[in-house]
Point group: C2
Chain length 508, copies 2
Amino acid sequence: MERRERRQRRSTGEKAPLAQLPWKQPRRHFAPLRLLSDDQVETIHKASLDLLEEIGMDILNPEARQILSRAGAIVADERVRIGRDIVEAGIGTAPEEFTFHARNPDRSIRIGGNWIAFAPVGGPPNCSDADHGRRPGTFEDNANFIRLAQHFNCIHTAGGGSTDALDVHASVRHLRIGLNKVLLSDKVLFTASTGRARLFDGMEMARLARGVSPEQFETEPSVFTMINTNSPLKLDGPMAMGVIEMARHGQITCVTPFTLAGAMAPVTLAGALAEQNAEALAGLALNQLARPGAPFIYGGFTSNVDMKSGAPAFGTPEYMRAAIAGGQLARRYRLPYRTSNTCAANAVDAQAAYESVFSLWGAIMGGGNLIMHAAGWMEGGLVGAYEKFALDCDLLQMLETFLEPLDTSEEALGLDAIREVGPGGHFFGAAHTLARYATAFYAPMVSDWRNFQQWDAAGRPLADQKANAVWKQALAEYREPAIDPAIREELIAFVERRIGEGGEKTDF
Amino acid sequence: MERRERRQRRSTGEKAPLAQLPWKQPRRHFAPLRLLSDDQVETIHKASLDLLEEIGMDILNPEARQILSRAGAIVADERVRIGRDIVEAGIGTAPEEFTFHARNPDRSIRIGGNWIAFAPVGGPPNCSDADHGRRPGTFEDNANFIRLAQHFNCIHTAGGGSTDALDVHASVRHLRIGLNKVLLSDKVLFTASTGRARLFDGMEMARLARGVSPEQFETEPSVFTMINTNSPLKLDGPMAMGVIEMARHGQITCVTPFTLAGAMAPVTLAGALAEQNAEALAGLALNQLARPGAPFIYGGFTSNVDMKSGAPAFGTPEYMRAAIAGGQLARRYRLPYRTSNTCAANAVDAQAAYESVFSLWGAIMGGGNLIMHAAGWMEGGLVGAYEKFALDCDLLQMLETFLEPLDTSEEALGLDAIREVGPGGHFFGAAHTLARYATAFYAPMVSDWRNFQQWDAAGRPLADQKANAVWKQALAEYREPAIDPAIREELIAFVERRIGEGGEKTDF
């Protein structure tokens, strides 16, 4: 540890620390954008109810079918037709806003209302950086992304899935990564619903990390899971299990249908949204039947495909519109809203940036509460990229600044400064300026504002090259967060025991 | 001409034409964003009135001072203190929305209300492209940008100032460029208020191009000018002349204070906005005194500087907030609102893209009606860039798609398609998809959606390289718009006569 710190200090040299904003959770102080009229929201709502009642969903988990059947759903083999009364009964019981507890209480966050939380990219099998290129992710890369998510104050969750750790056996991967997450980070946790052991191991690590009793844990949301449906209208076994078990344990479920218009959903946005909404509502119904009042997040991920090639597209105008309409639907049900920062680009070029900012535009204006993949996502989710992570953190900090309320107090108006300077003067030396200049404006980490001649003399660095230096500096500055030694030992013992037991059986 | 067309045809080869959206003016179908409360808008309004009444403005034009003095303003040397009654009298007389007439009536546009018009970059002395680098602009470059602005349907004005033509003498430059504008384009026109001859020559060419009488011209807005104040609180002679003369001739004035917070305006956004608003209102008062009801556009350009270097910054969070607050102020006065698509980047990299999309976010959500510099702006306005022009046109088309109302008709919902496909299926072959796939989604010109392996095999083209091919194809596809031969002769004769007379005297 000490050697690491020395090495880090040496490698940072005399560099000023990264210009980070302090840890804080941004809030939206304006009404989210409405692309749909109230009537249109109701039209989509009604279409979703029709879909669930008439067609139903294939749900590949016997217990889930039993729960829905007991509530009155019509079950035939795996097909479950869910009547509108069952769906409507599930609306309004989940909390509109709740606290998501981290092991460090200072890192607990609010989900819902006008709160915004940014989570790092999750899911990519690969990673990339400018020095070593694109490659399958390793345990060390995975750990580095946990460190980046911990170090950047604009990231509000622990991450841990920004690239897969393909050098660790799948049966115990969640345990080794899980231990990293609770030791390398003190932010809120995620557990994967890709198997019973993975789900429960993740819950138990979250409980142990917080040092709370099972009883307290079940009343305090301390871990979340992401449920992806197999659109159209299909929910696989482990995912359905997760919807039920997370509710039973008072933990957070987010159901996010993967409704790519033209592929897994109708080629029209309205159709894709109706399908998204039907699947999310089915998840909500099952979740609230398992435990009314369990914390639930409405997930939207509707985008389109390239109709020439079938390739998924992200950060498109269709994506933006779906993200905003999705927020209107989530608020129709008084649920927190999850959306994402996505792109389809293969390089950290102009395309990556415009697709990402368009995504964020949809997310922020759409009233997103939990913004997944907020940093590091590339290639439609196939790659977690170090440079993109750093660049995205700059974008997120810009958004945090954008979201600050605008101060129009007498001091902020500064009429005295204008009197002092007078017509034709300048404000560089005004007292009003000197008192504020150091913190008046957001100072970006990546953007290069030198004039052309200075930039040319510096070797014409592009944004991705500047981002390369930023993530390296972030890793060098990173420090492991404090943890109670007893809790640390308990976590290590738990993981060692579970590894000894074989973790999640992967002989499928 | 024929040889040119043949060459063009050869150079396009068998390429499919650029995937352009048809000519149309987008509209905003949602309420613009409100960052300021009504009270805050009034606070800024009142602060602006205080500034004009107490400090006043330096106005370097005797006639302008006389007009304001006659209305009751207190004049001492160049300083003009404008009472709030004078300012208030100028509010509400200019039209909230009007038609801006092009020589081709199909290219006339609406300014104000929920209409949006995109204008190309104006003002840079330099230009750049990937093949020949950064260089002072020439007459040929200037003409190429007019052709690009004409060819791209998402651009709504003729441009003509996307790079200066430094190889043409300043005294006659406006005449030679002006002739290009009316011959190479049939979109709405701009005239520079940098001297009496330039202003009047521009007005006369706009009139001749439309083939209308002076009387008709004065009732139909057919040309616009941009008035930049010398912030803080100073209006130079030619600009003040433009404010008066454009009104007298029923033409369009846009007053845009250049209020960089920390340099020409207070370091606080509220202060910079109060100063911007004071200067815009002074321009409005003068303009409406010269002719009540003249078409007037409220311009906002508040951004910040890098407080370390003094360099202007663009597309920043401060810029976005100012753009949105500026829209609230413009609507307070029921005036059309001008804003911009800006960036400070030196290359068409990720920074250029995120600064531009952040600018556009502020412009679109802020209710911008005339979005200047919408395509081609680089380096804080010092360079008009060919690749950026093409890339921006892709962004503008994406925004046009984003701005389309969302169809939730029964056909759009496509429940029958979902019934047809059923749980677990896919929509690629559904009848609903086949009937719509060709036009269902926006097909970008620049974005590369190939997967990594295909993109790698193609040589890993970045967005700026793809944009290089797009502007070249646009120039190859470009055709000169039709014009009445008699009008053409008249325009050429006018320009030849005015060149013979020496154009604008430049011996200052």
